[in-house]
Amino acid sequence: MSGDFLTTIPPTPVSLERRSAARALQQTRPDAALPRVLDVDGVSIAIRDKVIVQDVTFWIPKGEFVCLCGPNGAGKSTLLKGILGLLPVSSGRIAIGGEDVAAGHRAVGYVPQRKGFDRDFPARAVELIVAALRGRWPASIRPEERERARAVLAKLGGARLLDKPLSGLSGGETQRVFLARALVTDPKLLILDEPTAGVDARGRGELLELLTHISRSDELAAILVTHNLAAVSKTAERIVYIEAGRVLCWGLREELLGQSSLTALAFQASDHHAHAPDEE
């Protein structure tokens, strides 16, 4: 379907005001000469003829940890679904490691929000991790697969969780297992969709420590969707801030978080959208 026939989100006076405020901020982009793990180029995504993401451009070089922030309903989850190949893009291009999404999905490790999976499903952590290796649910686990799952869980301090049923795990333990699942395929790009949401304070602290550790990697690029300012300040090298489906600003953490204007914008935006339907 042509983009001309799609409904677009009209820019509100508030968002125009924010855009001019954001333009005034210093926003340092990554070196364009560096090889890009993720390249989002002029991407628009529509759901049922309604444009949710509009002309979004940013890229992530190898080893960079980016936080994707914005109010509820801004289009973050829709953009993630586009990057994961779950939604088609209306225009523009998404490339992972230089390849189209369909070919590049093997280079992506994904940690979903906790609510996605069937909590009554009879499964152990090892099966979930091996499912990521095979792309199918395992009926039985080979010794080498078990060892690989154990090793990645051990790196995350969760070796004891290997044979535990998923239904018996706490929120923090569940996310640790899902993180192991995402990392077991040695991805180039890690995508984390609000991993701390719904996790208790202790689990959130542990998870944040793990994310901070991952953010120091020179090899793995990551994109973290979060509303958690602590997570942003601990992990982000760069921030992509989205509002009403468009990139409002994209720059280094110090440039954007250091500016009270953006923080204020974020809070204002959150309040502004607090009662808006979540079209993501």
Binding site: P122, R136, P165
Partner: protein, 275 residues
């Protein structure tokens, strides 16, 4: 030993045993996914759709034996309809099933009522409750062929189906065709239910889908174990129930289901002890 050799020496019991084992095996394995997907009511809904389809076949002039060939596409279409409503609306699966359940039953009654007084008499009771002991060689061939194909297909797709049911989004990212598998599961369940209705009847067929899988789910710790246990409970229960029904002179399908229920009760106790 006579307990086994005496009934199994009779031809009609041999046919009943083969039909019972085939139906129990495929229903139990498909049932694991149906129950895990939260669609326990699906078997009932599709059995009543099968009734509507058979009534349509009779209305169109087919014999009771051949009305099943009208019922198969009719019930599969109903199953796909349930899937479409579930995926494209906010309604839950049980609501979609309930709507089609009522629609099919009403159509079935309507078609039976529209038949001419001169048309061949239909034994509605045998349609509702079935009788495994009077399975003809022709029906047995269809039951075994459909059950074997459906069982093999389910086992081939087991790993993908399991992933899709655990988390459709993660499965889709891994390249699993989630929507196709869901429709396939529904259509396959429909075909199995229609064929099983010939032997066990409209009212009882969903028990073959739900009870062994539910019992296995209470004690199985992985989906692979749940599947294996459901298969064992389904088939052993069918064999034991059939032999018991011979010696006790009780209806075969009902006896099998009561044995499956006994397994469910045992699993309930075992499952509680484990926790």
């Amino acid at each position: 030993m006579d307990l086994l050799t005496e009934p199994l020496g009779l031809l009609f019991m041999q046919r009943a045993l083969i039909a019972g084992l085939a139906i129990s095996a495929v229903c139990a394995v498909i049932g694991v996914f149906v129950v895990q997907r939260g669609l326990a009511f699906l078997g009932d809904g599709l059995a009543h759709a099968a009734f509507g389809g058979i009534a349509l076949g009779l209305f169109l002039g087919a014999s009771v034996e051949h009305a099943v060939w009208v019922s198969i596409p009719f019930t599969a279409a109903i199953a796909i309809g349930i899937g479409v409503i579930q995926r494209r609306t906010q309604l839950r699966g049980d609501v979609a099933i309930s709507v089609f359940f009522s629609f099919s039953l009403a159509l079935g009654v309507l078609f039976l009522g529209l038949r001419k007084a001169t048309d061949r008499q239909i034994n509605v009771e045998s349609l509702l409750f079935g009788n495994m002991l009077v399975v003809t060689p022709e029906v047995l061939t269809v039951v075994v062929a459909v059950s074997a194909v459906a069982l093999v297909l389910t086992l081939i797709l087991w790993q993908r189906l399991a992933y899709a049911i655990f988390d459709p989004e993660l499965a889709a990212i891994s390249g699993v065709p989630v929507a196709v598998l869901e429709y396939l599961l529904l259509a396959q369940t429909a075909v199995v239910v229609v064929v099983a209705v010939k032997a066990v009847g409209v009212v009882l067929v969903s028990s073959f889908v739900v009870i062994p899988a539910a019992a296995a789910r209470l004690v199985g710790t992985t989906l692979a174990r749940v599947t294996a246990l459901a298969f064992l409970i389904g088939t052993l229960g069918a064999a034991a129930g059939l032999v018991a029904s011979y010696h006790l002179d009780t209806p075969s399908s009902a006896t099998i289901i009561l044995i499956h229920c006994a397994c469910f009760a045992a699993a309930l106790v075992l499952g509680r002890r484990r926790r």
